[in-house]
């Protein structure tokens, strides 16, 4: 605990010295970040393989590539983002100027997650740096190889006086959360999100919570067979192709009309074989389950006899290899755990409906998810989905891409979290927007000052309504 308080005191002093606020510092750190991922790409691939069995292509696509891209964007834009923005001022304030000036919060805490242990710690770090903060980074202990890799190497590339990596488990998290931070950025589960926000409330610390939920995919009938093949690839890619379903924006479950269900299952099964071969356990392109706890949790979801009976494909496991086969279920009971909790694993329930339009009520009667994916060409249906459901994002006819668009805010709503980042939103998330109004001493508006009388009342009323003609008339004695 003492070590932690000392560390924090050091960071506060560093921040107070103004070191992290200069453009030069921010750019040097961002360059350092780019160098870090470029120099250590192979070692990062190895660490990711060790922790979650990630293939280098996935590791590049979801981790290394994301970090490099983010750092490069921030490097090229940070000066622009830092510049104060002018605000419009009504004439009545003349002469004056209004500006919004972004400034760093101070000393911030970033808590990363285990499924994308590199990008979900370093992307927020890039955000915090570009906004000029001092940072404590707490990688997830559930991805220990990546965590110690970061702890060992970040200080070699980034300013160790301003950016610290602290490793550890629950007890370290608890200690960290007892401290006062100027901002906390948390990626993880809803349960822990509540704990983080409750702790933050004690110090009135603003938080960004990137959580999860049950992100549904909807498929209607408006696609021809060629498109169906593409849809199947995108669904399989979004479920099993991103850390084996252990991703906040993975498809959690699928909604489709009853009459298409069995064809869809066949097509998905075919696509799974195409991607992972006859025996996915041997495929290097398929991630493992992160640890025994999660493995057990996922198996427990299948234990319910009614759920077990609904398995339509897959279901085999290998505990030693932390492997669960890509599994599809058809209509497990809606009140079973697999349909009420976020799955976060390679199990895909398909729920059939009589009419695909029912999917809207289905989704909107449940907690707001991080993402909704809808495969449809029906414009009316698209509009209904947009206006009658709420989610962090909606993607039509594809999956996961919203993550790669820097111009789109990435974050949740309701139970899937609040706050957002990516692109400039990252900079904004770690900045306080300070309002600045500047005036001169001249001229003076006498009606501003007591003693009050009805003339002054009238004057101010007109001024507030920006009724300049009225004001002139009043001053000329022509208005009663």
């Amino acid at each position: 605990m003492e070590g932690l308080e000392g560390t924090l005191a050091e960071l506060r002093d560093t921040f107070r010295s103004g070191r992290t606020r200069s453009v030069a510092w921010r750019k040097s750190q961002l360059r350092g970040m780019i160098e870090f991922v470029q120099d250590n790409e192979e070692r990062i691939f190895q660490a990711l393989d060790q922790d979650v069995g990630k293939h280098p292509v996935e590791a590049y696509r979801d981790e290394v590539g994301v970090v490099a891209k983010s750092a490069k964007l921030s490097l090229s834009c940070v000066e622009k983002w830092m510049a104060p923005r002018k605000g419009d001022l009504p004439l009545v304030f003349f002469p004056a100027s209004a500006q919004v000036m972004p400034e760093p919060f101070g000393v911030v805490l970033i808590m990363g997650s285990w499924n994308f242990p590199i990008s979900l710690t370093l992307d927020p770090l890039i955000a915090a740096i570009s906004a000029g903060n001092a940072v404590v980074l707490k990688p997830s202990e559930l991805s220990p190889t990546c965590s110690s890799f970061l702890a060992e190497n970040i200080p070699k590339y980034l300013d160790p006086k301003s950016i610290k990596v602290i490793e550890g488990g629950i007890d370290v998290c608890e200690q960290l959360l007892q401290q006062k931070w100027d901002k906390i950025f948390f990626t993880g589960s809803q349960r822990v999100g509540r704990i983080v926000m409750t702790a933050a409330a004690q110090h009135l610390t603003p938080v960004t919570l990137e959580l999860g939920g049950k992100s549904p995919a909807i498929m209607d009938s408006s696609s021809n067979p060629t498109n169906m093949k593409v849809i199947a690839k995108r669904i399989v890619g979004a479920k099993w192709g991103s850390c084996s379903g252990q991703a906040c924006i993975a498809i959690d479950y699928l909604l489709v009309e009853e009459r298409f269900a069995s064809d869809l299952i066949d097509l998905l099964a075919k696509t799974i074989k195409q991607f992972y071969g006859e025996n996915p356990r041997e495929s290097k392109s398929y991630c493992k389950i992160v640890n025994k706890n999660n493995f057990k949790r996922l198996l427990d979801l299948l234990k319910d006899p009614l759920v077990e009976a609904s398995v339509a494909y897959g279901g085999s496991v290998d505990e030693e290899k932390m492997y669960i086969e890509p599994t599809i279920l058809l209509n497990p009971p809606l009140d079973s755990q697999i349909m009420t909790e976020e799955i976060f694993g390679p199990l895909l329930p398909i729920i059939t409906l009589d009419d695909i339009y029912e999917s809207i009520d289905f989704i909107s009667s449940r907690p707001k998810p991080l993402a909704i994916y809808a495969f449809t060409r029906d414009e009316k249906f698209k509009k209904q989905i947009l206006s009658r459901t709420s989610s962090g994002s909606v993607t039509f006819n594809d999956t996961l891409l919203q993550f790669l668009c820097d111009s789109l805010p990435f974050g949740g709503v309701g139970q899937s979290g609040f706050g957002r980042y990516h692109g400039k939103y990252s900079f904004d998330t770690f900045s306080h927007e300070k309002a600045i109004l500047q005036r001169g001493f001249f001229p003076e508006l006498e009606p501003r000052y007591p003693p009050w009388n009805s003339f002054k009342l009238h004057f101010i009323k007109l001024a507030y309504a920006f009724n300049y003609i009225g004001l002139i008339l009043l001053l000329l004695g022509l208005k009663k």
Partner: protein, 515 residues
């Protein structure tokens, strides 16, 4: 709804539950989302303010002895202005914003859609004495704590209605809990709002601790709280149970730094109107204390005395242009600050009081110690301490040694000092050469940082505060890069690298096998 022994209905947790469910059903019906509904509600608020200007001013006079000009100008006109702006801009605010997409996701289009958060709770200042939690232990000092934890009743109407305007413009259903410290105003609002607004979607719940606690037990899609930090913590912790985002508009000690070589008369008048001209110092952005150099202090005090007399006469306790102290608890708290030994000898102007009328005259203190009570907590009253330093730059360290305030003010003609101030003093908002005015500029976000709060509103920031910005991506089936899918190969890695950069040449080279 439970009933008390006298047969009155009490707003308890069950009632709050029923209310919240009712509002959810209304929101789910989509009624509050339409442009027409939002505009009709906003227009009705303007109508209500116009038709009941006198009643509202009377209620505020009853509660706070607020001068009519302050009621009408600061309260009613500000609310009407917010509505007018929203009415004018709403179509534009509601439109989805196009977002650029890069080659990485080609072909695609994207936009950001604004949608209401749902059912929101607006609490405008609330009293939460320790009594509620530590009943046995702190009974005897409850009234002191009560006083300390009560807060924002200054801009009663604005602080109740401005967030309401925001929530309506964003298309939400809502509950408003007005401050119980202004009972006449609170019950007037509770009477008028259902008459003018859609009472199925906009509810008013009056009450104090137990009613607010009952409301805080429910799940809301957003909570907007105006008040003090102690209660802000309680609100945020309650919100955490449901992962509800919050806006906390709190307070703090807003400092005024006064440099030399300025027009001292103009500066003084602007400080006075920002301090005493707004509910007699009982406002979140009131100048709390002044820091100036030892050389300037005397001149500043003289100027303040002169202008105070010009504004409020020789007997400010009798002046109709000054609000009274809101209640006896606050009165006791403020006189306590004045009577502290370290401080009582430092009064250089004012200090007169009238307990029966709950009035304290504008009071200036010079050279109070930094560890006195009056310098430790937010004053929220008509007392103005002046601290002196040798060099004006030393004032920044004093300010930064405390918590970040809601507003910070600097009077100077020195560009370098001004830049230094802007760079080194963090506050919700900063005004150079004036006080409090930024509250009325709609293009500036109004909110705090650190202890003074989180989130902001006013102008479009109000709309955004109650809106979820949903990212939408449109794709087609054309252009499906097989590089996305397993089985993964090193060749795919090369192409993936290029695709992620989004750079056309890099992609071309990768496709041609040249990288």
């Amino acid at each position: 709804m439970a009933t008390t022994e006298e047969g009155k209905t009490v707003f308890d947790v069950e009632a709050a539950n029923v209310l919240s469910k009712e509002l959810r059903d209304v929101f789910a019906s989509g009624k509050t989302r339409s442009y027409e509904w939002r505009i009709s509600q906003l227009k009705s608020i303007v109508k209500m303010c116009d038709e009941h200007e006198e009643d509202i001013a009377d209620a505020l006079r009853q509660d706070l002895s607020k001068p009519q000009l302050e009621s009408i100008v600061y309260e009613l006109t500000m609310v009407k202005n917010s509505c007018t702006l929203a009415i004018k801009e709403l179509k534009h605010w509601m439109m989805p914003e196009k977002a650029k997409t890069s080659l990485t996701t080609f072909p695609s289009s994207a936009e950001i859609m604004s949608e209401p958060l749902g059912v929101v709770l607006i609490i405008s200042a609330w009293n939460y004495p320790f009594l509620y939690v530590h009943r046995k232990v702190l009974n005897f000092i409850a009234f002191i704590v009560h006083a300390i934890t009560t807060s924002l009743i200054s801009l009663f109407l604005v602080l109740s209605l401005d967030p309401l305007v925001a929530a309506i413009a964003a298309g939400n259903a809502m509950v408003l809990k007005p401050s119980e410290l202004a009972p006449a105003s609170s019950s007037l609002l509770a009477k008028l709002l259902p008459k003018y607004l859609d009472c199925c979607s906009i509810k008013v719940v009056e009450g104090a601790v137990s009613e607010t606690c009952a409301l805080l037990e429910q799940k809301w899609d957003k909570i907007f709280y105006t008040g003090n930090g102690r209660v802000g913590r309680i609100v945020m912790a309650a919100a955490a149970k449901y992962l509800t985002p919050v806006v906390l508009e709190l307070g703090g000690k807003s400092p005024v730094v006064v440099d030399s070589d300025i027009d001292i008369q103009v500066a003084t008048r602007r400080i006075i109107v920002g301090k005493w001209g707004c509910n007699n110092g009982q406002a979140c952005i009131s100048p709390d204390y002044i820091i100036t150099t030892k050389d300037c202090a005397e001149k500043l005090v003289d100027s303040l005395k002169k202008e105070l007399e010009a504004f409020y006469g020789k007997n400010p306790l009798e002046s109709k242009d000054l609000s009274r102290i809101v209640n006896s608890d606050h009165y006791a708290r403020l006189t306590n600050l004045l009577d502290e030994d370290k401080v009582s000898g430092k009064i250089v102007y004012g200090g007169e009081r009238n307990e029966a009328n709950l009035r304290i005259a504008p009071t200036i203190l010079l050279g109070v110690p930094q560890n006195s009570l009056i310098m430790k907590e937010e004053i929220f009253g008509p007392l103005l301490p002046i601290l002196t330093v040798s060099k004006i730059e030393d004032s920044f360290d004093i300010i930064n040694s405390g918590t970040k305030p809601l507003a910070a003010y600097l009077f100077t003609n020195n560009k370098k000092l001004k830049q230094q101030f802007l760079m080194s003093v963090s506050a919700g908002g900063v005004v150079i050469n004036d006080t409090a005015l930024h509250l009325t500029v709609h293009s500036l976000p109004f909110g705090g940082v650190g202890e003074s709060g989180m989130g902001s509103y006013h102008g479009k920031f109000s709309f955004d505060a109650f809106t979820h910005k949903k990212a939408v991506v449109y794709r087609s089936f054309v252009g499906d890069a097989s590089v996305r899918y397993p089985p993964y190969t090193r060749g795919k890695l090369r192409l993936m690298r290029a695709l992620i950069t989004g750079n056309v040449w890099t992609i071309l080279r990768a496709l041609l096998g040249w990288s």
